[in-house]
């Protein structure tokens, strides 16, 4: 039973290597869905496994056993490792809940502030311009959806590049991309191995909006140029700000630009094997977690004195 419950905890470690390869092999929207659904299943499996382990350990304690109407002591295999494992599982679950709660508070405060800032300025259509020397642009979900752009960003792009930028942000809003980002954030708190998957989801979200923008303005190179120019302008101004450690590999922005510079790929029907493998991992994770939970449930029923199921 314990080995069964360890599988959903170990499987997510296989996800980052797979997730990194998915965007190169699927259309951006397909990649976005494949990554997000897999991340949800993997996160669900690992939380269920942790919960089952913690519950089993809890029922070994006489006070909780009485609360659970256990008339016999709960019999589980590998008694000796169970208690430390259960304690660890309970600790990890608590930690995940705490960091998730903290992130939830910070994110919603950030969103509220961005919303308040946008609502202070008169809008034209869905555009809200903020007079600032720092180039920045983002999609602001909510009612109504907005796109927020600083004057410095507008001035570093020409008219057609601005149209590409707007098309990109509108694609975020119409595609409901903030939901994918929120789910990615949620799953990243459930298992540390899902953090790289969150980054892959973020990249997939940007790629989906890039391709939508290229379709709207009808020019892939123009869209690529707008992204490159905006990125250079943004970073040129950021010299005085705390910098994150430079990535060893090529960062997301050059990947996006390079993908747009390459010719559009014809749509493929077949599911790429890498996405299928990731999905298989995710399903396996949920299946083992569910089987483990059912076994524990049976053990509990026996301990509750029920016979014959």
């Amino acid at each position: 039973m314990i080995t069964l419950l360890l599988v959903p905890l170990l499987l997510p470690w296989a996800a980052p290597a797979l997730a990194r390869r998915v965007p190169a092999r699927c259309s951006p929207v397909a990649a976005l869905w494949a990554l997000t659904v897999s991340a949800v299943l993997l996160a669900g499996g690992s939380v269920a496994a942790l919960g089952t382990l913690a519950l089993t350990g809890l029922l070994k304690i006489p006070a909780f056993a009485a609360l659970g109407d256990l008339v016999h002591p709960l019999h589980t295999p590998s008694e000796r490792v169970l208690l430390p494992l259960a304690a660890l599982a309970a600790g990890l679950l608590t930690l995940a809940a705490l960091t998730l709660g903290l992130s939830l508070v910070r994110q919603s405060a950030g969103l509220r502030n961005a919303r308040a800032a946008a609502d202070r300025r008169p809008a034209a259509g869905d555009l809200c311009v903020i007079d600032s020397p720092r180039p920045d642009a983002y999609a602001l979900p909510g009612r109504p959806h907005r796109i927020v752009v600083t004057t410095a960003m507008l001035r570093s792009l020409d008219a057609s590049e601005r149209e590409a930028l707007f098309a990109h942000e509108r694609a975020h809003n119409s595609g409901g991309h903030h939901w994918f980002l929120a789910v990615a954030e949620l799953t990243a708190h459930c298992h540390p191995a899902l953090r790289p998957v969150r980054d892959a989801i973020r990249l997939a979200v940007e790629r989906a909006a890039d391709e939508a923008a290229a379709g709207t303005v009808g020019d892939r190179r123009l869209t690529a140029r707008a992204i490159a120019r905006a990125a250079l302008a943004t970073n040129g101004r950021e010299a005085g700000r705390p910098t994150v450690t430079p990535a060893a590999t090529t960062g997301p922005v050059p990947q996006r630009v390079a993908a747009l510079m390459a010719p559009a790929r014809p749509a493929r029907r077949a599911v790429p094997w890498i996405a299928a493998l990731l999905a298989a991992c995710a399903v396996l994770s949920c299946a083992t977690a569910a089987t483990g939970a059912v076994r524990v449930h049976e053990d509990i029923e026996v301990a509750q004195g029920e016979t014959g199921g």
């Binding site: 300025r121 920045d136 999609a139 600083t150 008219a159 149209e163 990109h168 509108r170 950021e238 090529t250």
Partner: protein
């Protein structure tokens, strides 16, 4: 893009394009100048209609220039919105997760790659 297609775009998108052109210019623009600044082919009358609508909404202010008006965006009096926004940015490193930003931070290598891509592409 053909003129017919641009004229059919949602009014909100046209307003956004006009406001963006005015902010990018940084000086008051006449309808003819706005029309020249836009990437799309809009009729002058359409541009004039959008400008006066934005003026009525309080997004733009205008001044007499020759026989017509020159328009410019109404500024945030004390730059309060920008201050507030950037204060939030600097404090909140997690912002990227809720708000889908157009571009993220670059590493020095990334910057080099982008510069090369821009130089190679037609301008």
């Amino acid at each position: 893009m053909t003129e017919a297609r641009d004229e059919r775009r949602p009014a909100g998108e046209l307003e956004a394009a006009v406001l963006a052109a005015l902010w990018a210019a940084g000086t008051p623009l006449t309808p003819a100048q706005v029309q020249a600044e836009l990437s799309s082919d809009l009729a002058r009358t359409t541009v004039t209609t959008i400008l006066s609508r934005l003026h009525e909404k309080g997004t733009l202010e205008r001044e007499r220039q020759g026989r017509g008006f020159a328009y410019r965006p109404i500024e945030d009096p004390h730059g309060l919105t920008a201050l507030r926004m950037h204060g939030e940015l600097d404090r909140d490193s997690d912002r990227a997760t809720v708000l889908a930003r157009f571009v993220d931070r670059l590493s020095p290598d990334d910057e080099e790659v982008l510069r090369q891509l821009l130089e190679d592409g037609p301008r």
